[in-house]
């Protein structure tokens, strides 16, 4: 029975991590937005305002859960839970370091892709359950957007899978560093199996994956409803979109889901394209930087740094670019990203056959 206890501890640990990440993420988002807009951001609570988000969450948890009189009560109360659980389940298959993965399943990537599509359902549930025009408009927009952008994202992922020849995320991670059992070629030319480092990352193993990464990154912004794709919660038109009616702990859950989604999609991007937990430092001659900086602890540090970097880029984009209109959004998805993703997939096949 011991391993059941381990499972529970791992699940609780991941939940704690998600919570702490959200608190830090909200603080970082406010500080970054303040920096970009030439403001100060939170300064009062704690040193440099660091306790601001803790104060916020305390306030949110104490608040009453208000259910609108006309709402469908069951759907309304369940919706934030489903939205969060859908994202949280995805964390089960993410590798953190060599040998450190909550659940090493051989279809990890496919599983994550499947499980985050449940979030759409939760959002529709929230929109319908609130019985509110703004909410349902937001929910419909969100569902339409997530379903559309799943297609370029999916094909960008397939492009990687065709290169890696596996759906197991831990195996994909292993193939991008000095621990790889296969031969790694930098840009398909130089053998860098022993050098590792940044040269062995997927985007440098096959250069067209750089385009696939950009496609995936744009699509992942849309899937987590982040600006410039935040028409589902467009403040100027829809109040707050599908979470207009939520208060207190429910609102906190919706926010938790949004930030964990940001982290999840960034981490999947890092694992597939940016070398997962592998070090960016290559072995140069007798200076074995890569060998020194590979290991369980280093793995966690590297993957956290890379993922937080991507999250920071997401925030930077949010506070820099204006929101897209619906038609621009769909044009971008169907006329630009989808054909490009198809092209990437085709190149991947050719690359695997003739170059690797």
């Amino acid at each position: 029975m011991n391993f059941y206890i381990t499972y529970f501890i791992i699940a609780a640990g991941l939940f704690a991590f998600v919570g702490i990440f959200t608190l830090a993420g909200v603080y970082a988002e406010r500080k970054i937005s303040a920096f970009i807009q030439n403001r100060l951001g939170p300064t009062e609570t704690g040193k440099f305002g660091t306790l601001q988000t803790f104060a916020d969450i305390l306030k949110l948890l104490q608040k009453e859960i208000i259910v609108p009189a006309a709402a469908d009560k069951i759907l309304f109360l369940l919706a934030p839970g489903i939205i969060f659980v859908a994202v949280y389940l995805g964390f089960a298959a993410l590798p953190w370091a060599p040998g450190l993965i909550p659940s090493n399943i051989n279809i990890g990537l496919y599983y994550i892709f499947a499980i985050i599509s449940i979030e759409t359902l939760g959002i529709l549930m929230a929109g319908w359950g609130s019985n509110n025009k703004y909410s349902i408009l937001g929910a419909m927009r969100s569902a339409a957007q997530i379903i559309s952008y799943e297609i370029p994202a999916g094909f960008a992922l397939i492009a990687v899978v065709m290169i890696a020849q596996t759906l197991n995320l831990q195996d994909i991670a292993l193939q991008q560093g000095i621990l790889s059992t296969e031969k790694i070629k930098f840009l398909g030319l130089a053998d860098v199996t022993s050098a590792g480092g940044i040269l062995a990352w997927n985007i440098f193993q096959a250069p067209h994956l750089l385009i696939a990464f950009v496609i995936y990154f744009i699509a992942s912004l849309a899937e987590s409803n982040r600006a410039p794709f935040d028409i589902p919660e467009a403040e100027s038109e829809l109040v707050a979109g599908f979470h207009t009616e939520f208060t207190g702990p429910q609102f906190a859950l919706v926010f938790l889901a949004e930030y964990s989604m940001m982290f999840l999609v960034s981490m999947v991007g890092v694992i597939l394209f940016l070398g997962a937990w592998n070090t960016p430092l290559p072995n140069i001659g007798s200076v074995h930087l890569a060998t020194w900086t590979t290991g369980a602890v280093w793995g966690v540090i590297w993957i956290l740094l890379k993922t937080l970097g991507l999250v920071a880029v997401q925030m930077w984009i949010r506070w820099t670019l204006p929101r897209l209109r619906v038609d621009q959004l769909m044009n971008l998805c169907w006329k630009v990203l989808t054909p490009l993703a198809f092209a990437c997939m085709l190149i991947s096949g050719v690359w695997r056959l003739w170059v690797m």
Partner: protein
């Protein structure tokens, strides 16, 4: 443990399916259907068909269910109100054909299950004696992929053409007629 899981999953699947069929509230029925599909995915996992389980979630939960919800939310209030007012008597003349169909289907299914004697089938025996079996812990996806691209390539392509036709047809129907 696996057996307990199986019964829990089956209970969830059957119970939620019953609520879907008997529920008055159409939207809640749709969301309940999500639980049915998810329970089915769980049953697939217990049958060691993890790929089928995840595909079930991708296609039915992520795709079809959301489409059903879309269709539901885009349809007018009047159509839905008419549905609500319909008196749903369990036994009525209207439901008679449905009852016959369901009953016949049940008979067919029971017949198959009772007569098939699954462990004694010839090809299963052959596979067992010839050691032509995939072990549990081996990668299922690779096998499915290789078979789809070699042995079952023709059915696979035929299905893809069929889906393509459906897409083209849908696009044609949805297109606005040009006014002359």
């Amino acid at each position: 443990m696996v057996q307990v899981m199986f019964y829990v999953m089956s209970f969830v699947t059957l119970g939620s399916a019953f609520i879907v069929a008997a529920g008055k509230n159409l939207v809640r029925s749709i969301f309940m259907f999500f639980i049915t599909l998810f329970g089915l995915a769980g049953l697939y996992v217990l049958a060691l068909a993890d790929f089928v389980a995840v595909t079930q979630v991708v296609i039915y939960v992520g795709g079809i269910l959301v489409l059903i919800l879309f269709a539901f939310m885009l349809s007018g209030k009047q159509a839905l109100a008419a549905l609500d007012q319909q008196k749903s008597k369990f036994i009525s003349l209207k439901n008679f054909p449905a009852f016959i169909l369901a009953g016949l289907f049940l008979v067919v299914m029971l017949n198959i299950i009772l007569k098939a004697n699954a462990p004694g089938l010839q090809w299963i025996q052959d596979a067992k004696s010839g050691h032509n079996i995939i072990p549990v812990n081996e990668s299922m996806v690779n096998n499915i992929g290789i078979n789809l691209m070699t042995r079952y390539l023709l059915p696979f392509e035929v299905i893809s053409v069929l889906l393509m036709l459906a897409l083209v047809g849908a696009a044609h129907l949805a297109r606005k007629e040009e006014k002359v």
